[in-house]
């Protein structure tokens, strides 16, 4: 990915001093701050207007950072979203990433590291503090395994990462249009993935596939 030397960044945080501190850290490294806002709806509005390269969003600002993340990424596929928050909760990390953020940073970080993380995210890297990565791995390890699916994997071709992603969204209740929007795919492509998933799982409907991944009997 081509990274501009002077990327434009939007800052959304409900504390004015934090916004000022984040701005200082970015500007010291030649990163332009194109907008400062204090809540989720202003963040979406300013992003649509300014079309920044990257948005730094607080998680617990009024209106919720993850909600702003999904709106911004669905309307502006060229804009990268990174969360900057005090929350170390796995649930916040997972929700933010699911809703379009490619990075999650903590406010107790060294400000000098922020421009480095911003440029890394713009270069296509996922940015996540190591301490949080460990917590996430732990969380994912303790999730119940979808046994039937694991069993199936032995004699059927395994699902691709993209197919797993779509299957999880189906399990969340998302439809073709929503999945297409969230993954920046066309609806035709999503339907093709879904039919491939159904074929690999040996089921005939999305509902059966979802029951299967939940470890339930698909024929119920």
């Amino acid at each position: 990915m081509n990274v501009a030397a002077n990327p434009r960044v939007l800052i959304a945080d409900d504390h004015a001093p934090t916004r000022a501190g984040v701005r200082m850290a970015l500007e010291r490294d030649g990163i332009e701050v194109c907008a400062e806002v204090a809540n989720a709806s202003d963040a979406v509005e300013a992003a649509l207007r300014e079309r920044p390269d990257l948005c730094l969003l607080d998680v617990h600002m009024p209106g919720g950072g993850p909600s702003a993340a999904s709106k911004i990424t669905s309307h502006l596929p060229g804009t990268t979203v990174v969360m900057l928050t005090v929350s170390r909760e796995n649930a916040d990390v997972l929700e933010s990433l699911r809703r379009g953020a490619v990075g999650y940073l903590l406010k107790d970080m060294n400000p000098a590291s922020l421009p480095v993380a911003v440029r890394a995210a713009l270069g296509g890297e996922g940015v996540l503090p190591r301490a949080l990565a460990a917590g996430l791995i732990e969380e994912l390890r303790h999730r119940p395994e979808p046994r039937r699916v694991m069993g199936l994997a032995r004699d059927r071709p395994a699902l691709s990462a993209r197919e797993w992603e779509i299957l999880e969204m189906l399990a969340e209740g998302a439809g073709t249009a929503e999945i297409a929007r969230r993954l920046f795919l066309s609806q035709v492509t999503v339907r093709r993935h879904v039919s491939s998933i159904l074929g690999k799982l040996g089921v005939s409907s999305r509902e059966e596939a979802v029951r299967l991944i939940r470890g339930e009997d698909p024929d119920d």
Binding site: D14, H15, A16, P17, T18, R19, A20, G21, V22, R23, M24, A25, L84, V86, K107, D108, M109, N110, P111
Partner: protein
């Protein structure tokens, strides 16, 4: 006015220092934790210490106690994300002269610095709302301490501050001197401190 800022988040601390300097406030020290704050206050003798309640190491409340005991001339203004009535009361009872919420405009911090540096007390609108809720609850519950201790004027001051009224408007509405709003707030804070000591005494009696 010379101030020390104590907050564990560098973005917030450095950003606040920059904003305060624009308002002509002299930021003489920045501390990422309570221990450093205590050392900096000894070294620089600031007029006001801006203190976050939740920092690693020495707890915010402990820092308030140590700072107000060690540096009797220095005033502690708490800057906190918490609008919990118990956090507000605990901080004021521990010796803080003021309390401002972090999501309130930076002008509230400036007003807090001015008032506390002059020896008065200052609570922001969000903080006053929290205290008012407690006082009203106590009055309804027939508690002889929390509500009964405050005079009618003090309750009215609390009410108007909670509604976001500026000192000038509060003084005009209540026909009290503009410079005395801070005195009423200080009196409210003092009564909270006294009330807390009485409760402690009753508990141990």
């Amino acid at each position: 006015m010379r101030v020390v800022i104590a907050d564990d988040h560098a973005f917030y601390r450095e950003g606040l220092a920059r904003l305060l300097r624009k308002f002509g406030v002299d930021v003489v020290g920045e501390a990422p934790d309570g221990e450093t704050a205590i050392r900096l206050v000894e070294e620089t003798s600031p007029d006001v210490i801006l203190l976050d309640l939740r920092m690693p190491g020495v707890s915010g409340l402990e820092a308030v106690r140590i700072l107000t005991e060690k540096a009797a001339s220095a005033r502690v203004l708490v800057l906190s994300v918490s609008a919990e009535e118990s956090d507000v009361t605990d901080a004021l009872v521990a010796g803080a002269s003021g309390y401002v919420l972090k999501d309130e405009p930076v002008e509230e911090v400036i007003a807090g610095i001015r008032a506390t540096a002059a020896g008065g007390a200052r609570i922001s609108p969000g903080t006053a709302s929290a205290l008012l809720g407690r006082v009203r609850g106590a009055i309804e519950a027939g508690d002889d301490l929390a509500g009964g201790g405050l005079s009618t004027t003090e309750l009215q001051v609390l009410d108007l501050v909670a509604a976001g009224k500026a000192d000038r408007e509060v003084s005009e509405r209540l026909s009290i001197g503009e410079g005395t709003v801070g005195d009423y707030v200080r009196s409210i804070v003092t009564k909270l401190q006294v009330e807390s000591r009485i409760r402690d005494a009753r508990r141990t009696a």
